[in-house]
């Protein structure tokens, strides 16, 4: 081998290339992962002595659109902001990311807002956008409000990418959305659905999942300014989606996953003991799962509350369950919503109209109650198909606000986003 290359311009060029690698190495020190920020729940003395509280209302108000995949966050004034997607059907080009604000004093939701459209996303990302999907909203500890949502440029949901936008004025104005880069394969096949968690240094921990070739879950580390700075794998293979992550302490967290396989139809669980860097192999736990999304939150007594369709098939019953941190003991708390038929069989339109009318009145809250007649005259393919009319309660999203209240939002027959709130006193009463 000739060492003549180390002469003249070649020597300079070689030294230049060596310098590039050395400087690049020096510029990228190893990143330390900070522990989970465990939210301090401040329950005022007056609130602590409050009696049991359980209330429901609709967050959405549009009567015509298919609505789905809701998410909610609490705001510093005690209010809430919820987001969901709405359009003529799931995956349609007219789907928008919409939201609404909850006034804590009036205990009601305001008018719907449009937060992102296919066109606004296309303009911002300078990519062709076919459709929008799941949105997730979360308030960071620095009071920056984050909105993550899915968009697709090519193909179906397997071609998804995650967009991020933020607001520094609690949702009055928003930054231009930009696409997170999360995979080396054309940056496709990453979706978001579940609540992010935060780390002590402000890093956002975003549970995500993949649907291209495999179906598996990951945990993204996103810097406080919105750049993906790391990731870890929660599961592998083809049978798990939509991880809901609940920190137990600074280093430990549990993830529960939607089971998308064909064998046991049980919720999967995985654990981390190093703030999300590594996760244990997912294992099936007691509750059933019909390949549907679930949501969990930590309780005051170091347990977890989980909202899920604990069925092997169908989504006709949404149940709230309590479990301990080892996920071994499970106790039903309440059926949040369910079909009157214990097997979830469809109803005739006439029978369905009567039942869902009653359910509407029990669920809507005073402000949306006036919509009931128009809703009942417009029952369409969202709930009634050739075989009859179905009840579907799905895609729960769970948070606990700083004042100790639990808030749950979910799809109510894909016609409304329902909001349920309750307190510890009510929870104690149920257990």
């Amino acid at each position: 081998m000739s060492f003549g290359i180390f002469n003249g311009w070649r020597t300079s060029l070689s030294a230049g290339f060596a310098a590039i690698f050395i400087v690049t190495w020096w510029l990228h020190p190893e990143r330390a992962v900070s522990g989970f920020a465990i939210a301090a729940t401040s329950i005022s003395p007056s609130r602590a002595s409050e009696g049991p509280l359980y209330s429901t209302r609709f967050a959405s108000s549009d009567l015509d659109e298919f609505v789905h995949a809701s998410s909610v966050t609490s705001l510093p004034d005690g209010g809430l902001m919820a987001v969901w997607f709405a359009g003529s059907r799931e995956g349609a080009a007219d789907v928008q990311v919409r939201g609404a604000r909850y006034d804590a004093i009036a205990a009601e939701w305001g008018e719907e807002l449009v937060l992102a459209t296919r066109e606004s996303t296309q303009k911002a990302t300078q990519k062709h956008i076919r459709k929008l999907g799941n949105p997730v909203i979360a308030l960071a500890p620095d009071n920056r409000l984050w909105l993550f949502y899915v968009s697709v440029s090519v193909g179906g949901w397997a071609g998804s990418a995650i967009n991020a936008m933020y607001s520094d004025d609690l949702g009055d104005t928003w930054s231009t959305p930009r696409q997170l880069i999360t995979t080396p394969f054309l940056n496709i096949s990453t979706l978001v659905r579940n609540a992010p968690v935060f780390h002590q240094d402000g890093t956002i921990g975003l549970p995500v999942y993949h649907e291209f070739l495999g179906k598996f879950a990951e945990y993204l580390y996103i810097s406080p300014d919105g750049e993906v700075i790391g990731k870890s794998r929660i599961s592998k293979g083809k049978n798990s989606l939509q991880p809901t992550v609940v920190p137990i302490d600074e280093q430990n967290a549990v993830a529960m996953l939607r089971y998308a396989g064909d064998s046991h139809h049980r919720v999967l669980a995985s654990r981390t003991a190093d703030a999300g860097r590594t996760w244990s192999k997912p294992y099936p736990i007691d509750p059933a799962n019909p390949n549907s999304s679930l949501a969990a939150v930590a309780t005051s007594n170091h347990g977890l509350l989980v909202a899920l369709n604990d069925l092997e098939d169908g989504r006709f019953r949404l149940r709230l369950m309590e479990t301990n941190s080892s996920l071994e003991l499970w106790k039903p708390v309440i059926n949040l919503d369910e079909s009157p038929d214990p097997e979830g069989n469809p109803f005739s339109p006439q029978a369905y109209r009567e039942i869902i009318g009653d359910k509407f009145r029990l669920s809507s809250g005073p402000r949306r109650l006036s919509l009931v007649d128009e809703f009942l005259t417009n029952l369409d393919q969202r709930v009634c198909k050739n075989h009859g009319c179905d009840f579907e309660y799905e895609y729960p999203y769970f948070i606990r606000s700083a004042n100790g209240l639990y808030h749950l939002v979910y799809s109510w027959n894909n016609t409304f986003i329902k909001h349920v709130s309750f307190n510890d006193a009510w929870l104690m009463e149920q257990l």
Binding site: F17, I181, E218, K231
Partner: protein
């Protein structure tokens, strides 16, 4: 538009390399490249043609961009086409990186090599060693591809903070693996088999 510099450059270089050159001279080829660059800015429904291409391809790796620029220069007669051994060495390096990255990153294992691109020191050392090896082999195309990709990473020229996105994309990965398999088939096909050697020996000579 500046944010899409890479998309426009990729569009122009790819079209220049793929479309026939019609035997034009060097100056005409240069004008053709400029024309293709101008075409990349043509807007349809608010998006440029380069942006449409990027919607499907995402931002390609810097290695791909350097390779496209190199082959465009070859086409313009500015550089010589790389020799076969140079091509094979480069294909081996890129295919090895691709086989390390892609299968595992698609969910086949709990190990995700893409994470190495976020905490990239071990990967920088590995790629540096590969580049040094190519340097010893006088494979300047390979050294330029890996070196310029690393330089672009340190300057943050792409939106991605992940080193892998500067080194590899599915196109260069598939091309490298496919071309390497093609080379292997050709080598095997050309190698005389024992039967054909015996047949050759038994052939009557024309003398």
């Amino acid at each position: 538009m500046l944010g899409l510099w890479q998309a426009h450059l990729t569009f122009a270089l790819l079209a220049f390399v793929v479309l026939p050159g019609f035997g034009f001279g060097r100056l005409a080829q240069g004008l053709r490249l400029l024309l293709l660059l101008a075409v990349s800015f043509v807007s349809v429904d608010g998006l440029s043609l380069a942006a449409y291409m990027r919607s499907f391809t995402d931002d390609v790796a810097i290695t791909t961009l350097v390779a496209l620029a190199f082959f465009a220069a070859v086409r313009m007669g500015l550089l010589d086409a790389p020799k076969r051994n140079v091509r094979v060495q480069l294909l081996i390096v890129m295919a090895a990186l691709a086989l390390f990255l892609y299968p595992a990153t698609m969910g086949l294992s709990y190990l995700d090599p893409y994470q190495l691109g976020y905490d990239p020191r071990p990967l920088i050392v590995t790629v540096g060693v590969l580049a040094f090896g190519l340097l010893l082999l006088k494979n300047w195309l390979g050294v330029s591809m890996l070196g310029l990709a690393t330089l672009a990473f340190s300057l943050g020229l792409k939106p991605s903070p992940n080193y892998w996105d500067y080194l590899l994309d599915p196109f260069i990965a598939l091309f490298s693996c496919g071309a390497l398999i093609g080379y292997a088939f050709r080598v095997v096909a050309r190698r005389p088999t024992k039967a054909s050697q015996e047949q050759e020996l038994n052939q009557p000579t024309s003398l």
